[in-house]
């Protein structure tokens, strides 16, 4: 061990490494050096805002792919992908009953990669619903909801509901027959609730049938209200994983 710590002749790779990673600018951005030593590998996770949700060390059974199948992470990744593709779609879409449908048509036919962005948004949305269910099953069958993680399971169920609502509100936006009647059928279900059902339905779609008021409500909920709420619950969800001692382990 000690032998390798003796200074050896510097090669051009070492010089390049020094110039790239041990200079003033690099170290002003990344407080740690390049993560090629255990110390720097831990520092890079602990000091980087995007990585610091992770612990610096993790039990070896938890990095096995068959333990989690990455399902929670992939659900979050779908959320990120949907945010990016969704923001791109927003540049071309106006939530008006007169424009919405033709905007989608124009997006598909006249916008570079417009169809691709819409397709990715659609398929990722379906995938997110599937992944969130699979993640719930993984957590259940590994018994990971047990104390002290009870409340994080509750937060997870809230996130499941928010995912369904996000997908449901987005379903109306293309304003085609599929969208219109799916939302009509869906909101009629809400309207059938005893006593307060019709009022809730009226509040949800801003009228007695799905029209401009409903479209703008669904649009606003879809692009800002529900994503913000989901982001807040996700923050709590991820924070609690760390606070409750990481992934569940046999006692």
């Amino acid at each position: 061990m000690a032998v390798s710590e003796q200074p050896t002749r510097q090669t051009w790779q070492d010089l390049l490494y020094e110039k790239l990673f041990h200079n003033y600018i690099w170290q002003s951005i990344f407080r740690s050096g390049y993560p090629n030593t255990p110390r720097n590998q831990m520092l890079v996770v602990a000091t980087n805002v995007f990585l610091h949700l992770h612990p610096t060390r993790i039990h070896r059974t938890h990095v096995k792919i068959t333990h989690t199948y990455c399902l929670g992470g992939l659900t979050f990744f779908m959320f990120l992908g949907l945010t990016v593709t969704g923001a791109m779609l927003m540049f071309y879409y106006v939530p008006s009953v007169n424009r919405a449908y033709t905007d989608i048509q124009t997006l598909q036919t006249s916008v570079q990669f417009g169809q691709l962005m819409r397709n990715m948004h659609r398929w990722m949305a379906h995938a997110m619903v599937l992944l969130v269910f699979m993640h719930m099953m993984r957590v259940f069958y590994t018994g990971a909801y047990k104390p002290p993680r009870e409340f994080n399971w509750v937060v997870g169920v809230v996130l499941l509901v928010l995912t369904l609502l996000l997908s449901f509100t987005g379903y109306l936006l293309p304003w085609d027959q599929l969208a219109y009647w799916a939302i009509t059928v869906g909101t009629n279900m809400v309207g059938s609730a005893p006593i307060f059902g019709p009022k809730v339905r009226f509040m949800l779609i801003g009228g007695f049938s799905v029209d401009q008021a409903g479209l703008i409500r669904f649009y606003t909920l879809h692009v800002i209200g529900l994503p913000l709420l989901a982001a807040v619950f996700m923050a709590v969800h991820f924070w609690r994983i760390r606070r409750d001692g990481g992934l569940a382990r046999p006692l």
Binding site: G73, N119, T142, W153, D176, L178, V190
Partner: protein, 280 residues
Amino acid sequence: MATAVQAARPAGAAARPRREREEEVLVWPDLLFPEFIAAVVFTMTFLVLSTAANAPLLEMANSNLTPNPSKAPWYFLNLQELLLHMNPALAGVIVPTVAILLLMAVPYFDGDHEGQGVWFGTPNAVKIMAFSAIYSTVATVALILYDSLKFDQVWQMITGHHMPAWAQGLAGIQHGIQWPSWSLNIPYLPFNLHLMDSDFRTLDFPYFLSQILIPIGTMAILPLVLIWICRRWDPTRRGAMVAFFTGFMASWVVLTVIGTAFRGEGLQLLPVWDVWNIMA
């Protein structure tokens, strides 16, 4: 260092249990790299998928032209399927609300630390899961076939006669039986309680029985029977939770699949290829 200490122990002594820290790996690279690879694989998959398959776009929305069948998004078709079999408030609002609340309550029912952190960590968990999945699938399919008059159709093919009205389906219970006329209009309040457009005064007993009482009873008793059967494999709360959760997921999947792929024009129960032809 660790090996040196262990080697110094007398031969035959039990190996020192490995310390927690020694069982740990560094998040960079052992977790972050697989996460990065998963992200890349999924991005590529969705790029390829989105190049191959376009998101659907039908004609522009037209409130005067109702498509047949009209369906909710696929993840709500389980509720739309339930809607065909019971009171709409029960199927569309109460059942999903209760299901969500029960899901949230799972960790508060089953709070002991047994079997966490490993797949199917309690004894017989796999057996209970398999049994519960089969039981719930068979029960849900059978109930849907019953309420879609399929048993009656088969019975008629074999014997040439109809089944008794109550055996034909829930509609048979409501309409096929000669209910006395007073039972259609039982006053239970001396005045009309008018709450936000809903009337509460009289009870249509055949409707109440077939659309509310029998569905609630079925949804309560079948899971209880399931949990009672599964007691033999695991009498703990975890065993009951595995049976309950698996049963819920299995019925949810069955309802979704039937609502999506087996409901055609007028939401009739049809073979999957007929539904495919309508939707295509």
